[in-house]
């Protein structure tokens, strides 16, 4: 809390200036503290996040970020297309547009969703600034402070941040190699019911999960939906990686199996460009109305320019072939990572085997803590994301997320080699100091979730 001077004036936040010289009452450097909304509580800088500042330096092999490999796009064709677009339709592209999003793009989005078995109407699509904005809109639509959201454990850090900003409580449901475990979901719902609490929705990334790298099996999809129907639970299906399966398989979206129960979020960030920031929500009409009104209050309308770029790209460029290019590229990198992990990592480590997407989830030997180990990794010129950032409940200390989407295969191999050395050193330390102890973890630090993961600009 800021100190108040005797005259009732808030003390200056500025360390420079005549006030500071006389600030014997103390200066917190934040005179706004007693005005902040409750949702800002706990927002602070993070030691972990600071370490990511070096991740973009070329000396570091970053297995930490989640940046798609946009260098694989046919930049010449895209540039010509954008030029044509502005020449032919410039005034409209540079103008405001409808709050729900450009109609032509919404129709094209329905064609994209059809690849996953979704029959949706352009009328029910809301275009958003990345699917991250759609997450925010859905959260604002459904969540009051104290509400419960069910989510996989681990879960997408951007979603955790949104739910936290909505002051909701996230209850994690465990996964295995086939994704979310139906019985665990049922158990969680029974427990909540017994406590007299009702979850507002289940947030799930069914395909090529970020960060866990696993996919909900087709067998489990109807089971999960049946449990949700039994407990009358809505589903928020977040599916940015669905078309990036390495085995040529496209799984049916949960939305295609239960249109009334599922709000579906999609994105062009991984199939085309993360920089255009175009995503969408497909929601039942009643929900869609609310999403559009909230979006208008939030951003007025999604940018016409980037929506037109995406629509033009879908209408005139070989986008399905480009997705195949991405799949092949990411598959090669996944293979490089898995081969290197098998060859290099100490025997007590385990990891998931993704069949698509960007990420491997690695679990360290018992007693090791990925967050504590991070400075050693940075010193050894390799970066990863400690697992704690992907949990709202302090779990994940033994885990880490490794990404293979951005670095070239040779760099991935080198990164894994360095990481293996770091783990070996840490094991030696554990041997020296922790023999007999079960955990190297000091008391969990109550950080704001999302602050312990890198920003979107990290490679």
């Amino acid at each position: 809390m800021p100190e108040r001077l005797p005259n009732g004036q808030l003390e200056s936040a500025l360390p420079i200036g005549p006030q500071a010289a006389a600030a014997s009452a103390g200066n917190t450097l934040d005179p706004y503290a007693d005005r902040y909304a409750a949702r800002t509580r706990g927002m602070s800088v993070s030691e972990i996040r600071a370490l990511f500042a070096v991740a973009n330096r070329p000396e570091i092999v970053s297995l930490a970020g989640g940046m798609p490999y946009t260098a694989a796009l046919p930049i010449d064709s895209v540039a010509a297309m954008v030029g044509e677009l502005l020449l032919n339709n410039g005034p409209k592209a540079l103008q405001y547009g409808p709050g729900q999003g450009d109609e032509r793009l919404r129709e094209l989005i329905c064609e994209v969703m059809a690849l996953e078995g979704i029959t949706g109407s352009a009328e029910d699509v809301t275009v958003t600034i990345g699917s991250q904005q759609a997450l925010d809109l859905v959260s604002r639509t459904f969540l009051d402070p104290g509400d419960v959201v069910l989510a996989e454990g681990p879960s997408y850090v951007g979603a955790l941040g949104t739910f936290e900003a909505a002051q909701a409580e996230v209850v994690h449901v465990p996964m295995d190699g086939d994704g979310l475990i139906p019985q665990a979901l049922r158990d969680a719902l029974i427990r909540l019911t017994a406590e007299g609490r009702r979850a507002k929705f289940l947030y799930t990334v069914p395909n090529y999960h970020n960060p866990a790298g696993v996919t909900l099996s087709e067998e489990r999809r109807p089971q999960i939906l049946a449990i949700c129907a039994e407990f009358d639970l809505l589903v928020l299906e977040d599916n940015p990686y669905g078309l990036l399966g390495f085995d040529g398989v496209t799984h049916p979206a949960l939305r295609s199996l239960a249109p009334e129960r599922v709000i579906y979020l999609g994105s062009f960030s991984k199939t085309f460009s993360a920089g255009v920031r175009v995503g969408w929500a497909l929601a039942p009409p009643a929900v869609r109305q609310k999403l559009v009104l909230l979006s208008e209050a939030e951003v007025l309308c999604p940018p016409n320019l980037t929506q037109f770029v995406v629509a033009e790209y879908l209408a005139t460029q070989p986008w399905r072939e480009q997705i195949k290019v991405f799949r092949e590229l990411y598959r090669e990198r996944r293979d490089a990572m898995l081969t290197a992990l098998t060859a290099q990592m100490p025997a007590e480590c385990s990891w998931t085997v993704p069949t698509g997407g960007f990420y491997v989830w690695l679990t360290l030997p018992d007693g090791l803590d990925s967050k504590v180990m991070q400075p050693r990794a940075i010193h050894s010129r390799v970066a990863y994301v400690p697992g704690v950032g992907f949990f709202a409940d302090g779990n994940g200390r033994r885990d880490m997320r490794l990404s293979y989407c951005f670095p070239e295969p040779d760099r991935i191999r080198e990164g894994v080699r360095r990481l293996a050395g770091v783990v070996e050193e840490e094991l030696e330390l554990r041997e020296t100091f922790m023999s007999g102890a079960t955990s190297a973890s000091p008391a969990a630090v109550g950080g704001r979730h999302g602050s312990d993961a890198p920003g979107p600009e990290v490679a």
């Binding site: 070096v54 400075p375 330390l429």
Partner: protein
């Protein structure tokens, strides 16, 4: 390199608060680097550059990377302001390179930086000139590997009692530093600390008022600026408390008895001189209930961010940060030219 003072047309005027020069000063602010404190350093560098611009100097922010030598060779600055924290910027390595390039810089020499950077060495130096510093032992990881940890850890607790401070022997921003209050937490604290470096400094914990004393030498010899008292809302002045506005209350000047304030200022200047430092430094210390001053560590490239202590002290002294930096750069430029 350009000959400062001559070809670049430096017009240095001595003023009440030190040196003052015109718009002819071409400075490079070194920021970034590969150390753990890269983010803090980038923030410090930007702030110093802004302050220099406001004071009328020409300042270019340059990262310490593979292009550094060629950048310095082509930009030919009159002097360099080192806003690099952590290794390389503070351990003397980069300063040695600047010496090789004949590029003048603000702050301690390469040799003195090396001494100050290593906390156990710095503690020994200031102790030798009569300052008090908490009892300590520096232990490399190899020691534990060879001798085993159990017996040594027991002995540490027996000797120093609890709580204990455990921190990397080198490094800043409290990264890796931990207050250990229970014997059971000591092994984990050691493991966490060794992630940051090969040697751990274990120190007797001193209760008291946490203070930072900035020392400035703007041409008339080193003097202490008003001490800044630190009251972290969480009780621990860790990374988050340092760099999140609102988490810590700072009192400038520190709320200390005038005689203690005087002794504190003298102690900081003594440490600055004993370590052979130059231009600027920041001494971190604890003032006990009995007024005893305990030296903890010294920084040769103190933080310059919006929540950093050196700028608070500069403001507390009624000085302008930009003018102070310009003066230090001018002094550095003439030092080498002379």
């Amino acid at each position: 390199m350009s000959a400062p003072g001559g070809q670049s047309g430096l017009d240095i005027v001595r003023t009440q608060s030190g040196y003052r020069i015109g718009e002819d000063l071409h400075a490079v602010v070194l920021a970034g680097g590969l150390a753990y404190e890269r983010e803090v350093s980038l923030s410090s560098g930007r702030r110093v550059a802004d302050a220099l611009h406001r004071a009328g100097a020409d300042a270019l922010i340059v990262d310490a990377d593979a292009d550094l030598v060629s950048r310095l060779t082509t930009t030919r600055p009159d002097a360099v302001f080192i806003a690099l924290h952590g290794s390389s910027g503070e351990d003397g390595a980069l300063r040695g390179v600047l010496d090789l390039l004949d590029v003048p810089y603000v702050g301690a020499s390469a040799v003195a930086s090396r001494t100050a950077w290593d906390k156990p060495t710095a503690k020994a130096v200031v102790q030798a000139v009569g300052l008090h510093t908490p009892d300590w032992v520096a232990l490399p990881q190899t020691t534990f590997r060879e001798l085993g940890a159990g017996g040594v850890l027991d002995r540490l607790v027996h000797r120093f009692g609890l709580p204990l401070m455990v921190k990397p022997a080198q490094g800043g921003s409290a990264l890796g530093a931990q207050l250990v209050t229970a014997v059971a937490d000591l092994p984990a604290a050691m493991v966490g600390c060794f992630s940051y470096g090969d040697t751990v400094l274990v120190e007797r914990y001193m209760r008291g008022v946490e203070v930072a004393v900035s020392v400035l030498d703007d041409g008339t010899g080193p003097r202490a600026l008003p001490a800044v008292e630190i009251v972290a809302s969480t009780g621990i002045f860790d990374y988050a408390s340092r760099y999140t506005s609102g988490m810590t209350t700072y009192h400038t000047p520190a709320r200390l008895d005038p005689t203690v304030t005087q002794r504190l200022a003298e102690a900081a200047v003594t440490a600055h001189q004993a370590l052979g430092l130059r231009d600027l430094s920041r001494v971190d210390a604890i003032v006990g209930a009995d007024g005893e001053i305990s030296f903890l560590e010294v920084n040769v490239a103190p933080g310059m961010t919006e929540t950093s202590l050196f700028p608070m002290a500069v403001a507390g002294a009624g000085l302008d940060l930009g003018e102070v930096c310009v003066g230090l750069l001018a002094a550095a430029a003439t030092r080498t030219a002379g």
